[in-house]
Symmetry: C2
Subunit: 122 residues, 2 copies
DNA sequence: GTCCTTGTACAGTAAACAGGGAACACGTCT
DNA sequence: AGACGTGTTCCCTGTTTACTGTACAAGGAC
């Protein structure tokens, strides 16, 4: 059922109106029907838009794509491939990072970036 | 289409026969039809089994669940929740870890485990 | 009043997902 | 020859996903 955070809809509406977009206009820019967008904003929808659509929303609204995608109950679509590229290590890393505080996460992220300094692998 | 690695099917078959399970027996233990399992093992299926089914396969075969799930082209189902718990940091971490060698990954994982030493959150 | 724009409720849907049933060919055992 | 266990093939199916079209009510502008 792809449970989407109930705040997703209201957040979306708040940001959209703040940007001065009408529902129809915003839907048009996204390539969605006003109907569906209305449903989404009311949280009356079983399945939120796909992550690439949500990414586009974020662009138009000037919000963080990853954050909005998470609110929608989705996962950024580049991540599955990354996880599968190292099927043991990546899940282990995520599980290890699960309990960490934001500050600890930042440290860990810095470590990772330091390591990958030279390798710009495709 | 949930692209599953073509090796998934043949690997599955190889391990199953090595364990002495017949297709019917194995299917029964999994709660699947022999038909579908046959399709899966031949790679003749558009959508591989769900990740919890693949996990059960791994248990029965004594294989790594994460690895088999990746072969199936799926993502372990505990990961989306973890990612969403820190929508900025987790994707960033994965992307930073993307280019790393297995050895570097191990180091990073150790760091993460050291940090989380005390916190047994949730 | 009527025109236009706003969002909304109702109903529907093509395609993908995740399989399943029945019958079949083949080898083996007795 | 019959029974049995192996995997396979053809075709079928309920459910979910990610939406859409049409029509409508409420509020302002002219």
């Amino acid at each position: 059922m792809t449970e989407s955070n109930p705040n997703f809809g209201s957040f979306l509406r708040e940001r959209r109106t703040a940007k001065g977009y009408s529902l129809r206009r915003f839907a048009e820019l996204l390539g969605l029907s006003p109907t569906y967008l209305s449903h989404v904003e009311q949280g009356k929808v079983d399945s939120p838009p796909t992550s690439d659509r949500v990414r586009r929303m974020a662009e138009l609204l000037g919000e963080s794509a990853d954050e909005l995608i998470a609110m929608a109950g989705r996962v950024p679509d580049d991540l599955p491939k990354i996880i599968q590229s190292q099927p043991e290590a990546m899940p282990a890393l995520l599980r290890a990072a699960k309990g960490l505080t934001p500050a600890q996460m930042k440290k860990l992220l810095d470590q990772a970036n330091k390591m990958g300094g030279k390798e710009g692998s495709q």
